[in-house]
């Protein structure tokens, strides 16, 4: 039995869902990590693989080669711009996004950007496409800041996603998180998503929660993860019970198995 809860989204409901998060969250031990590593090692990998909530939600189907688009760039730029707005609240969202894009362009111009990085892609974009990136990222930042508006506890925009390298299994797990709210004894994660939640949204959230706990040096899990779909006006949340973390880990391993199976089928 997992703890998936569905609510209609409003700033009051979001604040309540965060305030009512469990006060105690489980901790993953070395034994849990060793066990997970053994399970991943049992799934052969031809090359280094990255598994995230999206892989879980898609049943192991990996999309074709990644390429930057305005919608792929909006989250990275939008979250960084939201941090700028929180640091200087008089700054307009749109101006903060523009500053962030300018900084990435400056990084590319001074040779600090790796090939294939967001900064390199932006440097090659036509001015009109840059404006579209600005528009998309402004949408993202505005909805993230709207979501954070009614929160009572201290919060921060996540500086990076959670990454965990599974020992000797050529596997990296990635857990997405956009906003981290500090509670009395733990933390609550918020993830903003586009569109509407599908049937596998719950397992996706569980996977993010599990990776976040694994990425924590001491293995402390966040008390709750909230998935927010502003386009559909819906939020889902999952509590970090040991049962949910186990289910999250199982889903990640299953995704690795399914990905391997798809790869073999494609190769045959």
């Amino acid at each position: 039995m997992t703890t998936l809860v569905h609510r209609r989204y409003s700033s009051h409901v979001l604040a309540r869902v965060i305030d009512e998060a469990p006060t105690h969250a489980p901790t993953l031990t070395d034994a849990h990590r060793k066990n997970l590593s053994a399970r991943f090692r049992a799934v052969p990998a031809a090359a280094h693989r990255t598994i995230d909530a999206w892989t879980v939600e898609r049943g192991g189907h990996t999309s074709s080669d990644f390429r930057w688009t305005p919608s792929a760039a909006r989250r990275t730029i939008g979250n960084a711009a939201a941090r700028r707005v929180l640091a200087a609240p008089t700054r307009a969202t749109h101006d903060a996004v523009r500053d962030e894009i300018d900084e990435l362009l400056a990084r590319a111009a001074t040779g600090y950007a790796r090939p294939g990085s967001l900064a390199s892609w932006l440097a090659e974009c036509a001015p009109a496409v840059l404006s579209l990136v600005l528009s998309d990222a402004t949408n993202w930042t505005t909805q993230l800041l709207e979501a954070s508006h009614g929160l009572s506890g201290p919060f921060e925009i996540a500086r990076a996603d959670a990454y965990y390298d599974v020992a000797r299994a050529r596997t990296t797990l990635r857990g997405r998180r956009d906003l981290i709210v500090a509670t009395e004894s733990s933390r609550v994660l918020l993830r903003v998503r586009a569109g509407a939640p599908g049937k596998s949204a719950g397992p996706g959230l569980r996977a993010d929660l599990t990776v976040d706990a694994l990425a924590d040096v001491e293995g402390h899990a966040a008390a709750r993860i909230v998935g927010l779909w502003p386009d559909a006006g819906v939020l889902l949340c999952v509590d970090a019970t040991m049962e949910d973390l186990r289910a999250g880990a199982r889903d990640l391993v299953r995704a690795a198995v399914a990905t391997r199976r798809h790869q073999l089928r494609r190769a045959a």
Binding site: P70, S131, L132, T138, N139, T142, Q143, D231, A232
Partner: protein, 250 residues
């Protein structure tokens, strides 16, 4: 833009209580029409179905024109100044839709059709730019918002796209203005579409917007309606009419 934003001091308090009642009315109405048996796929209600009377069968060129002018609006909303709105709109559209059926139809246009489309898009953009005026960066502007709402346990899906939205739901006063851009003249169906935007936005955020507006870049006309209980009730009836029609035809 001044019409949409209005006088800040005269804005009514944000209505955060109306959404639950509207949803209950819609759920009850849908159950009466569709029945309790769960459909395999939800019945989808879109803005185009509400605009049926003034939306003639559109050609590929008309569809492309609409898509490109909306992209031009997105660029205008972030202060992008363009000497060639057509090329910029195509560039941004290509950046989002590289391989769609419409992109293939665009590639298949002959020289004459492409020239007509270019002229059309430039004319619509000129009207739009002249009428829209400057958009301040402090207005919380968002563009091309895809919005959906499930009703009656997923039996019906309301699907909407708002071309431009400004304001925020976090203020104690209603401040959200919805703006829909069309390249066809405004007609009776436009009013229904305006009400639909307001209804879906209310259901999505649990806060009624301040105003809903539609601008025709073909005629330069702007229709703007203040959102109130009566407008939202009419929107509920509009949606149930469409559901009833769809149930009969299916």
């Amino acid at each position: 833009m001044d019409v949409l934003r209005g006088e800040p001091r005269r804005r009514p308090p944000a209505n955060t209580t109306v959404a639950a009642g509207l949803r209950a009315q819609l759920d009850d109405g849908v159950y009466d029409l569709v029945g309790a048996d769960l459909r395999e796929t939800p019945l989808v209600v879109r803005t185009a179905q509400l605009r049926r009377s003034d939306a003639p069968v559109s050609s590929v060129r008309a569809t492309l024109c609409g898509v490109l002018v909306v992209h031009a609006l997105r660029l205008l909303s972030v202060g992008h100044h363009s000497d060639d709105p057509f090329s910029d709109a195509v560039a941004t559209w290509r950046a989002t839709q590289s391989n769609s059926a419409l992109a293939q139809q665009f590639d298949a246009l002959d020289e004459d059709e492409l020239a007509r489309l270019t002229t059309q898009v430039r004319a619509h953009c000129a009207t739009l730019r002249r009428s829209l005026g400057p958009i301040a960066s402090t207005w919380h502007v968002r563009t091309s918002l895809f919005v959906s709402q499930r009703l009656a346990g997923g039996q019906v899906l309301l699907s909407d796209v708002v071309d431009l939205m400004m304001g925020t739901t976090t203020t104690p006063h209603a401040s959200v203005a919805l703006f829909d851009l069309t390249t066809s003249p405004l007609g009776e169906g436009a009013e229904r579409a305006l009400r639909f935007h307001a209804l879906v936005q209310t259901l999505r955020t649990s806060t009624a917007p301040l105003r809903t507006a539609m601008f025709s870049s073909a005629t330069g006309e702007l229709w703007s309606l203040d959102v109130n209980d009566e407008l939202l009730q009419r929107a509920v009836r509009d949606v149930l009419d469409v559901v009833a029609r769809e149930v009969v035809t299916s």
